[in-house]
């Protein structure tokens, strides 16, 4: 049995990190009785530990609510919870495509942040009805009227129907539910037409296998029927049909406007293509739904096990993680400095951090991450073009015509007392100002910036120059030619491959010097002095020396000490597993690790 279209509303929540999106979702679930009191944990939808700890949403989540509205009718409300971070913009746009409207949640004490803007524009692009919601009005610092003005000025949407709520106390939340029913259009669709369902997302569940989140447009998807993926052409028997309330609950079928999941004996997430249209294998639709662009990794880095013996474990763990997150890429890589590992591609720096943290936490691995790099386009003299994901693979510069690097449009919102430092930072990073506007005492600066300057240590610097008050968002703009060079680090004239990096020529010397100085402090003194150099090709641009050790000898060594001394030697032997040999120099991996931590 399918629900009548007029009694369905599909909506997303848009908000900046910490503005209370997940708390609002929890409160709604509670009001609609989706979970018992005992089952209610804080922020039910953020199911991963990392999500709960960091207060961020990584994977889009969905929940079907049954709400008895003030008109006495019962409605099905499908809530699509969206991630609040720039790295996961692609997830946001997918979720938005499955809804007709959005709640724009803004913290009434903080106001609009850069991320809010980006996601609101995505919702506007998706032709959503947008309901502004001012949250945290229970706090003394809340200024809902001022923030409403700000929303009108910055975002450019009408705030006449804005709602004041406190998701924490529950105040005003029922009014939000009523307002969704009144103001959002019901979904459109034809139950008799050929099946068309949007593949919104897919992930791996240890019990149910690959689960596919769908939004049905036309027709009905039923247990037992054979469906076909229109883009890949693969056909599968539907094994289960269900919804999240937020616990999984099996249903017989899903009709137009409905959101739920199916399982169909699909082996891996990689076999499903997000944005694909699912249709009936016997009676296929002729035209697919508008899909989305596939997500493309923009930041690359090497991941290496600290203990070289953990290489196989790392491979297994990456494969397992990939089952659930097909958006990161990995391939085997070998480094003289760090041993065997993987070159991995991510949607952004946060995505990188999250994958690294999950590998360390869920799979108990100790990892070294090399400096993040962006994707460069190398145009060769012979007219061919290749993409460079790893500075190590940089071709001979004499065969290169020119190099292009990705540029972004960056939006920074910051209290005006920090604006000067923020602008200075953007200028230092080769930024070109596009726009600078003030709203009250907050400024919005829009810059064109090279992505490689942002992955270096831009976030940390931005946070430090603005005392944490700046918010930042970006979108990829284009590629443009730049004077880019590869800087290599040499220890006693041997290249440390893991430390090579691509950089704009104007920054090469200062970055090279900084990393040489850092290594000088990190490499323990040894029997022989050690030359540390940074070079572009054969040309040394910075150098330092680690002086030779002057004294290292045990004062006493008699009968009983011999055994102790031997234990020391055994420890040194074991410690060598974590050392890397460069000529007659042994460098602890921890030195590379610390050198790779960019920024001071």
């Amino acid at each position: 049995m399918t629900t009548d279209l007029s009694h369905i509303r599909n909506f997303a929540i848009i908000a900046h990190i910490d503005h209370g999106k997940s708390t609002l979702a929890d409160r709604m679930i509670q009001i609609c009785g989706g979970l018992t009191e005992r089952e209610m944990k804080e922020q039910v939808l953020d199911s991963m530990d990392i999500e709960r700890e960091r207060g961020i949403t990584i994977k889009a989540q969905t929940v079907r609510l049954e709400y008895k509205a003030s008109d006495g009718e019962t409605y099905i409300l499908n809530l699509m919870d969206t991630p609040g971070h720039v790295d996961f913009t692609y997830e946001v746009s997918r979720s938005l495509a499955a809804c007709e409207g959005s709640l724009l949640v803004v913290d009434a004490t903080q106001g609009v942040e850069a991320q809010t803007l980006a996601n609101v524009y995505l919702a506007v692009d998706a032709s959503h009805e947008i309901i502004p919601v001012l949250n945290k009005i229970d706090l003394p610092a809340a200024e809902p009227e001022r923030i409403k003005e700000q929303i009108e000025e910055v975002v450019g949407i009408d705030t006449d129907g804005a709602l004041n709520i406190s998701a924490k106390t529950g105040d005003g939340v029922a009014a939000v539910l009523d307002s969704l029913i009144e103001r959002l259009p019901p979904p459109q669709g034809d139950v008799k037409a050929e099946l068309k369902a949007l593949l919104v997302d897919s992930w791996y569940d240890p019990y149910l296998g690959v689960m596919i989140l769908v939004r049905v447009q036309d027709g009905v998807i039923k247990k037992g029927m054979k469906v076909r993926m229109m883009a890949t052409g693969a056909a599968h028997q539907v094994e289960r049909v269900g919804v999240f309330r937020p616990k999984t609950e099996m249903v017989d079928q899903l009709g137009p406007g409905e959101v739920g999941f199916i399982t169909a004996a699909i082996k891996t997430v990689a076999d499903t293509s997000v944005g694909d249209t699912i249709t009936d294998d016997k009676k296929p639709a002729t035209e697919p739904l508008a899909g989305f662009l596939p997500s493309v990794p923009v930041v690359f880095c090497g991941l290496f096990p600290v203990d070289t013996g953990q290489y196989e474990d790392l491979r297994d763990s990456l494969e397992k993680l990939h089952l659930n997150d097909a958006s990161f890429h990995f391939e085997a890589e070998s480094s003289a400095a760090l041993g065997l590992g993987f070159r991995c591609g991510f949607l952004g720096l946060l995505h990188l951090e999250i994958v690294q943290e999950r590998l360390e936490r869920e799979f108990d691995l100790d990892l070294i991450t090399t400096a993040p790099s962006v994707v460069y386009r190398i145009h060769m003299s012979d007219g061919s073009m290749r993409e460079l994901h790893n500075p190590v693979d940089m071709p001979d510069p004499t065969a290169i015509d020119f190099i292009e690097e990705p540029w972004i449009k960056a939006t920074v919102m910051v209290p005006d007392q920090y604006l000067g430092s923020v602008l200075q930072l953007c200028e230092e990073r080769r930024g070109e100002q596009i726009e600078l506007t003030y709203v009250g005492n907050r400024a919005m600066a829009v810059y064109r910036l090279p992505l490689n300057e942002v992955v270096f240590d831009f976030y940390d610097r931005l946070k430090s120059v603005s005392r944490g008050y700046a918010s930042f968002d970006y979108e990829l703009l284009d590629y443009a030619a730049g004077d880019l060079v590869k800087v290599t680090l040499l220890v006693n004239a041997e290249v440390v491959d893991a430390l090579s990096f691509m950089v704009h020529e104007s920054h090469a010397e200062s970055r090279g010097r900084a990393i040489c100085e850092k290594l000088k402090d990190l490499i323990p003194r040894q029997l022989f002095k050690i030359a540390v150099q940074a070079a572009i090709g054969g040309k040394v641009i910075a150098r330092t020396t680690v002086n030779a050790m002057r004294k290292d000898v045990t004062a006493k060594c008699y009968g009983g000490d011999i055994t102790r001394k031997k234990k020391l030697l055994e420890k040194q032997k074991k410690g060598k597993k974590k050392m890397r040999q460069f000529g007659n120099v042994e460098i602890p991996q921890s030195a590379f690790l610390a050198a790779l931590k960019t920024g001071e």
Binding site: L527, K551, C557, G559, K576
Partner: protein
């Protein structure tokens, strides 16, 4: 002449002290009352146990260490020396050293120790300044140290003084003056140790910092220079003697010879059996004459006493060392000596050559770097090499990084 395969040394550990010094990580315990007779019998029993396994060997030295062995009753010392002379053939020039503290009570016993058979006294002077002595937690002051040094020199032909330097805030100039005063009163031997903060000591817990690398080098080099000019040649990293006055007992450790260790926490290295005779080894198994074993007596004094009462010995651990282990120990200790490592002795005792243990490339690298000298039959650490010996040993004996 010494015969490293036949000679044997004896170490006797007396675990008691009047108080525990904050830099000391040795097996020492503070106890008000010690039953001398009970302890004498237990030590005699353990001595007989190990002597039975090493019959017929020539005893070249005895060393009473601690703890504070100058708290032992002279009669206990005499009883142990008499028993040792019965168990083994005592060398005519048998060296018998006893470690002593410079307190006045102990000075009164020096002559009695001499009568008991001790012929070399090693005094823990540590410093001739009151302030550092207090910092080091010593019972004695500088005046007592000077008095003890005088008494010792009057009673014994061979006297050694222990000193601790590279103390916090110690300047090279101050140390030169202090060391000069020690030399003016010295016997024939000096052990000068740089203060090292060892885990498990009070200094370690309190976060006391030793000298930084540059000051440590400066002090070390000044020490070498002054002592050499005074005729006290460095024959080991921290040990200096007039020619012929080197500690024979300690040379046995560093040259890789056999030594029996008795008393709580004592370590030993023994080749059970004598002159190729097959004798029953420990735990009833047959030991071949080339078997080299490491012994370790139980640490806790009360428990040791109990075990000796039950089994005649208080061995906590005993295991055979592989030829590689024995050779590694010989390299570790041999390179501490100015005379260096005797590679023929290495081959004779372990059955392995230096090249079996160390990649030739490593040796070449370290000789080219000025840290080692390889002459016929000997590998020696240079002065520069001895200063950095830990790093050199790691380079010689540990495999390639990342392997």
């Amino acid at each position: 002449m010494t015969d490293i395969k036949n000679d044997i040394a004896l170490y006797i550990h007396w675990p008691f002290c009047e108080r525990k010094c904050p830099y000391c990580d040795f097996n020492s315990h503070v106890s008000d009352t010690v039953d001398q007779a009970h302890w004498r019998d237990a030590l005699l029993s353990e001595l007989a146990h190990f002597a039975a396994e090493t019959q017929g060997r020539r005893l070249t030295s005895v060393f009473f260490g601690g703890g504070t062995p100058s708290l032992m009753a002279p009669a206990t010392v005499a009883a142990l020396l008499d028993a040792a002379a019965d168990h083994w053939q005592a060398a005519t020039d048998l060296e018998v050293t006893l470690e002593a503290n410079p307190s006045s009570a102990e000075q009164g016993r020096f002559a009695d120790y001499r009568h008991a058979g001790v012929n070399r006294l090693s005094i823990g002077v540590q410093s001739l300044r009151d302030e550092p002595l207090a910092f080091l937690g010593r019972v004695h002051d500088a005046a007592q140290a000077r008095a003890a040094m005088k008494v010792a020199k009057a009673v014994f032909e061979r006297v050694s003084f222990d000193l601790i330097y590279a103390r916090p805030h110690q300047s090279v100039a101050d140390w030169q003056v202090e060391l000069g005063e020690v030399l003016a009163m010295s016997g024939d031997h000096l052990s000068v140790y740089q203060l090292t903060i060892e885990p498990g000591t009070a200094f370690f817990r309190e976060g006391v910092a030793g000298a930084d690398e540059d000051r440590a080098v400066e002090l070390f080099e000044a020490t070498q220079e002054i002592l050499e000019a005074a005729g006290f040649l460095a024959y080991e990293i921290s040990n200096h003697a007039r020619p012929g006055a080197e500690s024979r007992h300690n040379l046995t450790y560093w040259r890789g010879g056999d030594y029996v260790g008795i008393g709580p926490g004592a370590h030993g290295r023994i080749t059970p059996g004598a002159h190729g005779r097959i004798t029953p080894g420990a735990h009833g198994r047959l030991a071949s004459p080339t078997t080299f074993e490491a012994t370790h007596q139980i640490h806790d004094p009360a428990r040791w006493l109990e075990l000796v009462g039950e089994h005649g010995h208080g061995t906590a651990k005993r295991r055979q060392l592989s030829p590689t282990e024995r050779a590694e120990e010989m390299i570790m200790t041999g390179l501490r000596l100015t005379e260096g490592l005797d590679t023929k002795a290495l081959a004779a005792l372990s059955g392995l050559s230096f090249d079996d243990l160390v990649e030739p490339g490593r040796l070449r690298e370290l000789t080219a770097g000025g840290f080692l000298d390889a002459a016929a039959g000997r590998i020696t650490a240079t002065a520069e090499g001895r200063l950095r010996l830990n790093a050199i040993l790691a380079r010689l004996l540990a495999p390639e990084a990342g392997a």
